[in-house]
């Protein structure tokens, strides 16, 4: 049977076997007393050195190899590489948690991130491959002509990719600091090294083959813990099939718990707290002065009595940590108020779509749900680092097939994520809610220490109510091994998977940014006569510079970076999608139309995001309170307006301008049948 496989398939089969063997060996060693910390190190060193080996063996000095892996990547492997390229640290760690917190509403991510591949398959991948150059800007220039559109495309590609790559490197820092207890900044630079060993020497070729390796690790790591958990809970190790029953149990538990007297009491207390903060904010700056005086009086009273020094110190710290000025106080208290308001709301039922009392509110939720799906699908179909992968297959027909493989490999993860969320919720509802805080399972305490789980006994009854528990989304995937009582080696496996997800996405993004700068800007615009050797030297040095820069930004721990990733979809979607799709399917689209559409779409999206999130910008002449959302849509769905406006502008301007002269030839070429249509 082995002989019927291709050489590559055999290699990856051996590789997977070696990895499984490695995990089993570690499990054995752990049982004989190997400390968890070493297990973490072993995973880190083993996986990164695997990637490095592949990276070194795939080194290349050929331009076509460097940018598009020589167009020799079979559909199956391109599918795996795209899967790893696509699934980021956020998909791996965050998605299940988002589904846990938002229930049905979170499924917008699952639908959006997979539905986009239908658009890739039908509208883009085959045509990009038939065109057969190196980058997305190349395609736009060939269709519309002129270097201005190249610059706009490069700017949009970098804008969408850079934030995204910073978030991946940040993710690596978080994973390494949590599992191997490296310092965060050290972890970031370990991540940087991990990324560079894959991409520096071999460009797209090395990135492709390491991404395949990373896909295998990440999918094994994602599916294993929840399969074991499913086996423990239901007796069937295929969570995707059986979590329906568990969901039913969750729904029953929700009905019992949500409106119990204790839960109502706790939510009432949070409501009171929120009101208190609201009052304090209203009465600024007096309330801050009063607060300080109150603490001072309390401290003095305590000092005159004979209580323990510890309590006084605690109060003094509280006084020291009071906000310094009314502005800071307002920000901090508003934050506290919103947290309390959130907790005072009745929790949502996991399986209930669009939970709201009135029909209007339900429809607002529906609009947001569909709006988010719209942005995510179109953003998915327009992210340059994903589209670039379809340049690397040997034929058009293989490009189409590789989208099928990509979606299949991606669906395996996305179909599992909702199961994670439901199993975690079942655990929380049946084993945490209503349990004395002193008797909570061990994993709760372990993750409380790291700050990912928060418990506050607001009504002081010593028993955990649901509203008193707060979970960071990342904890769902990370803690599942412990929830299911698995040995530490499984946690190490999950960490290795998360690392693979982050590294593979970072590699793809970094390559996109580098090729935009070196191929599109340097070679196509500044030095069209540059020798291939010089082009590669420039490319590699830029890769280094961009990577170090991204790692430096990540090491600053920018707080908003994670939410900024969601905006990348809207940015990419509104800048690229209309120009690409109209360019392929509508002969009448002109250069002026494309440029106008890209600019209008991009600027409208940016305007909406910035105005909604940050309010006014004095230096831009935009002032005043944050914008009121249009059609109730949140900033993550900003692309709805940008994409629609981009399409309309493109069409309108095109109708009033002359068609580009080269369009006819170009379209005739990309619309012809595939001569090498033999497939696999």
């Amino acid at each position: 049977m082995l002989n019927s496989l291709t050489r590559l398939q055999r290699y990856y089969l051996y590789y997977t076997a070696v990895f499984v063997l490695f995990v089993l060996t570690l499990a054995l060693l752990e049982r004989h007393g190997m400390p968890p910390r070493w297990v973490g190190y072993a995973f880190l060193v083993f996986t990164v050195s695997m990637y490095a080996t592949i990276g070194v063996f795939s080194r290349t000095t050929d331009v076509s190899e460097y940018y598009v892996a020589g167009r020799r990547v079979p559909a199956l492997f391109n599918g795996m590489a795209t899967g790893a390229d696509w699934m980021s640290a956020a998909s791996f760690m965050g998605l299940a948690g988002t589904l846990y917190l938002q229930g049905f509403q979170g499924l917008a991510y699952v639908i959006g991130w997979t539905g986009g591949f239908v658009l890739v398959a039908l509208l883009l991948a085959p045509y990009l491959r038939r065109f057969g150059q190196y980058t997305i800007p190349d395609f736009l220039v060939a269709r519309y002509g002129g270097n201005f559109i190249r610059l706009v495309a490069v700017a949009a590609a970098i804008l969408a990719s850079f934030v995204y790559v910073v978030a991946q490197i940040y993710g690596v820092g978080v994973i390494t600091s949590r599992f191997v207890s490296l310092q965060f900044e050290v972890g970031v630079f370990v991540g940087l090294a991990g990324i560079l060993v894959c991409s520096f020497l071999g460009g797209m070729r090395a990135v492709t083959w390491t991404q395949v390796a990373q896909y295998l690790i990440l999918i094994v790591a994602y599916v294993t813990p929840v399969a074991i958990l499913s086996y423990n809970v239901t007796g069937v190790p295929i969570p995707q099939l059986v979590y329906g029953q568990v969901l039913e149990k969750v729904t029953t538990l929700e009905h019992q718990l949500f409106d119990s007297a204790k839960e109502l009491e706790v939510r009432e207390l949070y409501q009171e707290r929120a009101d208190l903060y609201a009052q304090k904010i209203m009465q600024l700056p007096q309330s801050l002065i009063l607060e300080r005086e109150r603490l001072s009086i309390q401290i003095n009273e305590l000092k005159s009595s004979d209580v323990q020094m510890r309590e006084i110190v605690a109060l003094e710290r509280q006084r020291r940590e009071l906000p310094h000025d009314p502005e800071q106080a307002r920000l901090r208290w508003e934050n506290e108020m919103f947290t309390a308001v959130d907790r005072s709301k009745p929790p949502i039922h996991h399986a209930e779509p669009f939970p709201a009392k009135t029909v209007e509110e339900q429809n607002a939720l529906r609009f947001n749900f569909l709006g988010l799906i719209f942005c995510l699908t179109i953003g998915t179909a327009a992210l340059p680092h994903v589209l670039m992968r379809y340049y690397t297959t040997p034929s058009v027909s293989q490009a189409r097939e590789s989208v099928v493989w990509s979606l299949l490999f991606i669906v395996i993860l996305y179909i599992t994520a909702p199961a994670y969320a439901v199993f975690a919720k079942f655990e929380v509802l049946s084993n945490l809610a209503g349990i004395p805080i002193a008797k909570l399972p061990g994993w709760v305490a372990a993750w409380t220490k790291v700050g990912l789980v928060g418990i506050e006994d607001i009504n002081g009854d010593g028993i955990l109510q649901l509203a008193e528990l707060s979970l960071n989304p990342d904890v769902i995937v990370l803690a599942t091994p412990e929830i299911a009582g698995m040995p530490y080696v499984v946690s190490g496996l999950v960490a290795a998977g998360a690392l693979a997800a982050a590294l593979s996405t970072a590699d793809g993004l970094l390559l996109t940014i580098t090729s935009a700068l070196s191929h599109d800007v340097y070679y196509r615009i500044f030095r069209p006569g540059a020798s291939t050797q010089l082009r590669l030297v420039i490319s590699k040095s830029l890769l280094l510079v961009v990577a170090v820069f991204a790692a430096t930004v990540a090491a600053q721990k920018p707080g908003t970076i994670l939410s900024m990733v969601a905006w990348a979809f809207s940015i990419a979607g509104s800048a690229f999608f209309p120009a690409l799709v109209l360019g392929i399917f509508w002969a009448r689209a002109t250069r002026a139309g494309a440029i106008a559409g890209m600019l209008v779409g991009l600027l409208l999206t940016l305007y909406y995001i910035l105005r909604l999130e940050f309010g006014g910008f004095a230096w831009l002449g935009l002032e005043g309170a944050p914008l009121k959302p249009w059609l109730h849509l949140q900033s993550t769905s900003a692309g709805v307006f940008g994409i629609v406006a981009g399409f309309m502008t493109n069409v309108l301007v095109s109708l009033f301008t002359r068609p580009s002269p080269q369009a006819a030839d170009f379209l005739a070429r990309i619309r012809q049948p595939d001569r090498r249509g033999e497939g696999i």
């Binding site: 049905f104 499924l107 669009f354 529906r366 099928v404």
Partner: protein
């Protein structure tokens, strides 16, 4: 330039149909998730099941069909390519 090759006409036709199916599945069915939840499927409420699994399998179906059909079209019109 105005005469459309039969290959391209068929491709466009296929693409349009599959896109319509995609839009109906993605936007119309999801809109009624609340109502669909009244039905049960393998123990799942149907609205939830469709959004979490059903729709993903339909997506796969769409692009598998597209890939097959396009390969046939390619073979049929391979002689027309320049």
């Amino acid at each position: 330039m105005n005469q459309v090759s039969p290959y391209w006409r068929k491709t466009r036709h296929l693409t349009a149909w599959l896109l319509v199916i995609w839009v109906v599945l993605t936007f119309c069915v999801s809109w009624f998730a609340r109502e669909l939840n009244a039905y049960s499927f393998f123990g799942f409420p149907f609205g939830f099941y469709f959004a979490a699994q059903g729709i993903l399998l339909c997506y796969l179906g769409i692009i598998v069909y597209y890939s097959r059909r396009m390969r046939q079209l390619d073979a049929e019109y391979a002689g027309d390519a320049e």
